[in-house]
C-alpha cells in the first residue's frame, strides 16, 4: 500500500514488545550538562541502539533504546527552529499539562519523585534484559560511560520487572492487547484493528504510531499528506512516547473489593473485580465470558482480543459501560462502528515495578509498587491525552456523566462510584485513590538517522 517500512531506521522498542521475552526493564533518565558532552556521549551509544529489524538467530541478552524530553533535545543542542516544530503538548511537557491529565491532589507534580517533571530529565535510556546479571552489566557500562563522557548525571532511574505470573499488581494479566498495524502485525487485526461494519476488522495505518508514514487520515486525503511531524531528520521514523510512574495501592483496592462484595449479590469478589476491569484476572474478556473466567484463555493467541461490544453488549450487562478496558479501548461501543475510537489507539509497553504484596495482605506494607506506564503514539494529544481526558477521567461519552475510571480516577477525596449494569444494577463505592501518579515525562523517540543527526549536531 504505502512505502515499505524501514525497520533498520526505527527503534526497536516501539514496534517490538520486549517485555514479553525480557523480564527486566530499567529506565535511566540522564541529565545533560552541555551540548558538546551530550552529543559526544550519544555518538558513543549509537551502535548499541536496538532497531526494529527482526532478529535472525538468538536474540541479544539486552536491548537499549533512547528517547528525549523537549528539554533534553534543547540540552543536546538541537536547533531552535527544529525545537519549535515539535507538538505543543510535547514542548510543554507532562508536568505542565497536569491539570488536563487529572494529576491533582497526591498526583500533583509537586509531589512527584525527584528528577521527574522538573525539566532536568533529558535523555531516557530504556534497557531490557533477560536476567539480573546482564542487566547489571549494561547498567554499569552505562554509568561508566556517563562518567567518562563528563558533565552528565542521572536525574532519575526506575527498575521494573515482570512478575512471576506476568500480571500487574492488582493481579490482572496486562499488556497483551495491542493495536494491529498494517505491514507489521496484521495477524492481530481480529480484535486489535479497527472494527468494520460487516463484522470484520482491518489493521491500523503505521502512521498512527510512527511519524513519516501515512496515517489513517492520509487514507482519506486525496493529496495523501502525512501527519504533522518535527522538521528535518527527526521527522521520519520516530514517534512520541509517554512515560508515567503509577503507584498502586493494592491493599486499598483489595479492601474496597472485599467490602463492596458483601453487598454484591450477583457474584463474588473475583466477579466484581472483573466487572471493574472488564477482564477476568487471567485476561479472559468479560464481554466474551460474562459469568466465569476461562481457564483455557491464552493471552498470546491471535484471536485473544477478538471481541466487540455493540452487537452483544450495548447495555453493559456483560462488561460494564465504565469498565477499565472498555473505557481505554471502546472498539465499537461508541456507536457508528469504530469511527469515534479508531484514531485514539496507542502501543503500550508498561512494566510493573516493586515487590508483590503478600497475596493475603489487606494492609499496606509501606513498600513502593505500581506500574510504569509507557505508550507510543504519533500524537500525544490525540491519542494518549484524549483517552485520559475524555474516556478515563470522564464518563460523558459513555453516558456515565462525570464518573471516572474506577481504577485510575478518584483523587484524594473522591465520592466517585462505578455503576455495574445488571438486574438490579450495583454501585461500587467509594472510589479510592488506588492509583497515584509518582512522575512522568513526554518524550520523543528519534529514528536511528534522527539520533545520529542529534549526536552530530546537524538538526536544522
Amino acid at each position: 500500500m504505502g512505502p515499505s517500512i524501514d525497520y533498520a531506521d526505527i527503534q526497536g522498542d516501539i514496534l517490538r514488545a520486549y517485555g514479553n521475552r525480557y523480564d527486566r526493564t530499567s529506565y535511566v533518565f540522564v541529565a545533560v550538562g552541555d551540548p558538546e558532552h551530550g552529543q559526544a556521549w550519544l555518538s558513543g551509544l549509537l551502535d548499541k541502539v536496538t532497531t526494529a529489524v527482526p532478529w535472525r538467530g538468538p536474540r541479544p541478552e539486552t536491548t537499549l533504546n533512547v528517547a528525549f524530553t523537549h528539554a533534553g533535545l534543547a540540552a543536546v543542542g538541537v536547533a531552535p527552529q527544529t525545537l519549535d516544530s515539535f507538538s505543543t503538548e510535547f514542548r510543554q511537557g507532562m508536568s505542565r499539562r497536569a491539570p488536563k491529565l487529572g494529576d491533582a491532589g497526591d498526583s500533583d507534580p509537586k509531589h512527584w519523585n525527584e528528577g521527574l517533571g522538573t525539566g532536568s530529565a533529558h535523555v531516557l535510556i530504556t534497557i531490557n534484559a533477560q536476567d539480573e546479571l546482564s542487566l547489571q552489566a549494561v547498567l554499569s557500562a552505562l554509568r561508566a560511560g556517563l562518567r567518562d563522557a563528563g558533565n552528565l548525571s542521572i536525574a532519575h532511574e526506575e527498575h521494573a520487572q515482570m512478575r512471576g505470573d506476568a500480571r500487574e499488581h492488582f493481579g490482572f494479566a496486562d499488556g497483551f492487547s495491542q493495536p494491529a498495524i498494517e505491514g507489521v502485525s496484521e495477524d492481530k487485526a481480529r480484535g486489535g484493528g479497527v472494527p468494520e461494519a460487516n463484522g470484520g476488522w482491518r489493521p491500523l495505518a503505521l502512521g498512527e504510531f510512527i511519524l513519516g508514514y501515512a496515517d489513517e487520515e492520509s487514507r482519506v486525503d486525496s493529496q495523501r499528506r502525512l501527519p504533522s511531524a518535527p522538521a528535518g531528520p527527526l521527522g521520519r521514523g520516530g514517534t512520541y512516547m509517554v512515560w508515567r510512574k503509577l503507584h498502586q495501592d493494592v491493599a486499598l483496592f483489595r479492601r474496597t473489593l472485599r467490602d463492596a462484595a458483601h453487598l454484591y449479590d450477583a457474584g463474588d469478589e473475583d466477579q466484581l473485580a472483573a466487572k471493574i476491569v472488564g477482564r477476568w484476572r487471567n485476561g479472559t474478556p468479560l464481554v466474551a465470558s460474562p459469568t466465569a473466567e476461562q481457564a483455557s484463555f491464552d493471552a498470546k493467541a491471535a484471536d485473544a482480543n477478538d471481541f466487540r461490544y455493540a452487537d452483544v453488549d450495548l447495555d453493559g450487562r456483560r462488561c460494564p459501560l465504565g469498565a477499565h478496558i472498555r473505557r481505554a479501548n471502546p472498539r465499537d461501543a461508541l456507536g457508528f462502528v469504530g469511527r469515534l475510537s479508531f484514531r485514539h489507539r496507542m502501543i503500550r509497553r508498561g512494566m510493573p515495578y516493586g515487590p508483590a504484596l503478600d497475596s493475603d495482605a489487606v494492609e499496606d506494607d509501606g513498600k513502593e509498587r505500581g506500574l510504569v506506564f509507557v505508550c507510543f503514539n504519533a500524537s500525544i494529544s490525540r491519542q494518549f491525552e484524549s483517552v485520559q481526558r475524555q474516556w478515563l477521567n470522564d464518563g460523558n461519552v459513555f453516558h456515565l456523566g462525570h464518573d471516572t475510571d474506577f481504577l485510575l480516577g478518584g483523587g484524594t477525596a473522591s465520592t466517585g462510584k462505578m455503576k455495574v449494569q445488571g438486574a438490579p444494577p450495583f454501585f461500587v463505592s467509594p472510589q479510592g485513590p488506588f492509583v497515584t501518579t509518582r512522575g512522568g515525562e513526554y518524550l520523543f523517540v528519534p529514528s536511528i538517522t534522527g539520533l545520529a543527526a542529534v549526536a552530530d549536531g546537524v538538526t536544522g
Binding site: H262, L263, K417, F426, F427, S429
Partner: protein, 157 residues
C-alpha cells in the same frame, strides 16, 4: 433564540449577569472584529468596524424575553450595548428593546437535544437525578423497612 449584531467601538469586559435571566439556558457575547476573508473569496468584504454579537438560547416568546433582558439586566445591558453605535442613551427600556429587535438576525435552523424543556424543569430534573443516584448508592443492602422509610422521606418531589 435570537442573535443581534450591533457595532461596538472598543473592547470591554462583560460581567456575569445572565443568571439574572431565568429563562436563559445558554448565552454568549462575542466581539466580531471583522469577517474572515477566505483566500478564495474574489472581493473584499471589510465590515468597517467591530460588531457585538449576542446570542441566547431561552424558553418562551422572544418579545417578553427582550422585555426581561431590558428590565432585569437594566444597568448592565445599558452599559454593554451603550458602547454600541446607535444604542439609545436615554430612551430607557423601550428604546433599548427597539434597538435590540432592530438589530436581530433571524435563525435559519436550530437544533436542541431537548427542545421543549424549560430551564426550571432541566434544573429540577438534574437535582432529582443527583439525589436519586446518591440515594441508590447509599442504600444498597438496606433492609426493606429502612429503605422504604428513607425513600418516602428523602425523594419527595
Amino acid at each position: 433564540m435570537r442573535t443581534s449584531c450591533a457595532t461596538v467601538s472598543r473592547d470591554f469586559a462583560i460581567p456575569a449577569v445572565l443568571a439574572k435571566l431565568p429563562r436563559t439556558h445558554f448565552g454568549r457575547w462575542v466581539i466580531v472584529p471583522s469577517f474572515v476573508k477566505d483566500p478564495t473569496e474574489p472581493k473584499e468584504n471589510d465590515l468597517g468596524c467591530s460588531y457585538l454579537l449576542f446570542s441566547s438560547t431561552f424558553d418562551g416568546p422572544l418579545d417578553s424575553y427582550v422585555d426581561e433582558l431590558c428590565s432585569q439586566l437594566a444597568p448592565e445591558a445599558e452599559r454593554i450595548w451603550g458602547c454600541c453605535i446607535g444604542c439609545p442613551e436615554s430612551a430607557g427600556r423601550p428604546g433599548l428593546k427597539a434597538y435590540l429587535l432592530h438589530n436581530q438576525i433571524e435563525t435559519g435552523l436550530f437544533f436542541s437535544a431537548y427542545p421543549t424543556t424549560s430551564l426550571e424543569t432541566v434544573k429540577e430534573s438534574l437535582h432529582t437525578r443527583e439525589q436519586t443516584i446518591a440515594f441508590a448508592t447509599r442504600t444498597q443492602g438496606m433492609e426493606p423497612a429502612a429503605l422504604h422509610k428513607a425513600f418516602l422521606e428523602e425523594l419527595r418531589s
